[in-house]
């Protein structure tokens, strides 16, 4: 900001001819400010995006394909069901048409799949803010040391982001159902948590 103000002050003395140049300069500065909007992302460990098997890099297939921007029923990616403001959105709003290995912000800026939170944060600003503060989403690691974030897409399928229902673990035993099994021979019940796979993915059918 201060930098821009200085520029504007110097404009007055420099005359109108240079005005255009400075205008462009400050525009670049403002754009840069946008580019680094995600600067306050804490430098915590984020596991790699949960791609489906053998799907990345996308350019393996898409490099030689012609870009078709019309909204249509796809011949590929049948597993993807778009249930995410689908009336207002189409694949190429987020996936960059010319370089499929990157995502595309509304500003036209390209970002990698590792930074997909910036894409989500464009609309979900309050959630993005909570996520950065460590309040939205699961956090693991050390409460007073290094922490592990997850990307939005680790828990939310980006194409159908609603959190999928889970099977609950067994309820506690009612006092009425207590049996006196306190003899040496009886088997000790196992912790039911150990029989479910860890870590669980909340993506119902497809992963990315």
């Amino acid at each position: 900001m201060v930098f821009n103000m200085l520029k504007i002050r110097s404009i007055k003395s420099a005359g109108w001819k240079r005005m255009g140049v400075y205008f462009v300069l400050s525009a670049v500065l403002i754009m840069n400010a946008n580019l680094f909007a995600a600067d306050d992302i804490p430098d915590y460990f984020v596991p790699p995006p949960p791609f489906s098997e053998d799907i990345f890099p996308c350019s393996d297939c898409h490099a030689d394909m012609e870009v078709n921007e019309t909204r249509r029923e796809l011949d590929a990616h049948e597993d993807i069901v778009l249930k995410h403001a689908e009336g207002q959105r189409w694949c190429l709003d987020c996936h960059n048409p010319n370089d499929r290995d990157r995502l595309r912000l509304v500003s036209g800026q390209l970002i990698s799949f590792e930074e997909s939170y910036s894409l989500c944060g464009q609309c979900h600003g309050t959630i993005f803010r909570d996520w950065k503060a460590g309040v939205h989403g699961t956090r693991t690691g050390f409460w007073n040391g290094t922490k592990q974030y997850r990307l939005c897409v680790h828990c939310h399928n980006p194409h159908s982001p609603r959190f999928q229902p889970l099977e609950p673990l067994p309820p506690p035993i009612r006092p009425d159902d207590l049996k006196f099994t306190q003899s040496q021979g009886t088997e000790i019940p196992k912790n039911p948590l150990n029989s479910i796979s860890k870590p669980e993915s909340n993506h119902a059918k497809e992963k990315h």
Partner: protein
């Protein structure tokens, strides 16, 4: 009545005090263990209260306990007595707008803290309330036995309840043996070797957060967590009370891990941190979200904050 009748039949005067003294000594000799009892018996018999032991005494007690546990459970436990970290008051946040009632936290806690599988003990109860329910502090109107195929169910919301780590804990006030107390970092703990199992604390706790070992706790050998804290998840005895300690064996380390329930939560509803650190997650919740504490009117001042993130 003639005066001489007040004397005993043997016409020998025994003063009441003398009689009681003699009786006490005589009875005490019956109460003594058999002569073959080994040294560890006497050591455990005369074991001091946790807070009265010095470093050396504590060390020898922990070594003896490790040996006792090895004999009993065939597991080599590593008992520690990590002290509170200076400048830390632990606080917990639970996002009611996210919890789906899946009970992952309940069983992560069971595994981490060596809770008895039979008879079953759970430190966390996930309560299910009907949506629109007015008072979440009336636990009797909720159920913890819900068991649908999938959660969350449309017409319910869920509220996990565990020890609220009160700043003013009623359970501590009522303990007749001072076997439970609040540590400097705000965690209320139990010395299982000092608890006599009177369950006054359970009656005093307004949150139903304490559990009693009605039988000898049983855990299968391969499911024991051997990393234990003296005041936390070490194996308990029949007839003692236990409770959530914010995973004292994890959180008091430097760096300290998150409690097991925080790490397992698939929806990220559970938040944990230092209330005295203005940049901690829990402080962010308190300062930016709608927060309440359970049964605030009782003035127990819990350090467990329920909030709504959305």
């Amino acid at each position: 009545m003639p005066k001489k009748n007040t004397k005993n039949p043997c016409s020998k005067t025994v003063r009441r005090r003398t009689f009681l003294k003699g009786a006490a000594v005589g009875l005490a000799s019956f109460a003594l263990p058999p002569a073959q009892a080994d040294a560890t018996f006497w050591e455990s018999f005369f074991q001091k209260h946790f807070r009265e032991m010095n470093e050396d005494e504590l060390k020898s007690v922990m070594t003896r306990l490790e040996e006792e546990y090895r004999e009993e459970y065939d597991v080599q436990f590593n008992i520690k007595a990590t002290k509170p970290i200076d400048g830390v008051q632990y606080g917990y946040g639970l996002d009611l707008s996210r919890c789906i009632g899946c009970r992952r936290c309940v069983y992560a806690c069971v595994g981490e803290n060596n809770q008895s599988r039979d008879p079953q003990i759970h430190w966390i109860s996930v309560l299910q309330f009907e949506k629109g329910h007015k008072w979440v502090n009336i636990f009797e109107e909720a159920t913890k036995y819900y068991n649908p195929n999938e959660v969350p169910e449309e017409e319910y919301f869920y509220m996990p309840v565990q020890c609220q780590q009160c700043e003013n804990p009623p359970c501590v006030k009522v303990c007749p043996t001072k076997a439970t107390w609040k540590e400097r970092d705000g965690i209320t703990v139990v010395d299982y070797n000092w608890c006599i199992g009177c369950r006054y604390c359970m009656a005093a706790c307004p949150y139903g957060a304490r559990r009693f070992n009605w039988g000898k706790p049983r855990v299968s050998k391969e499911e024991y967590n051997a990393d234990v804290h003296y005041l936390g998840n070490r194996p308990r005895y029949k007839g003692v009370v236990e409770k959530c300690t914010f995973c004292i064996q994890r959180t008091r380390e430097e760096p300290g891990r998150y409690p097991a329930c925080v790490e397992i939560c698939p929806v990220g509803a559970r938040k944990f941190g230092n209330l005295l650190d203005p940049h901690s997650e829990i402080r962010y919740c308190i300062e930016n979200k709608r927060v309440f504490r359970l049964k605030e009117d009782l003035n127990t001042s819990p350090k467990f904050y329920y909030f709504f993130a959305t």
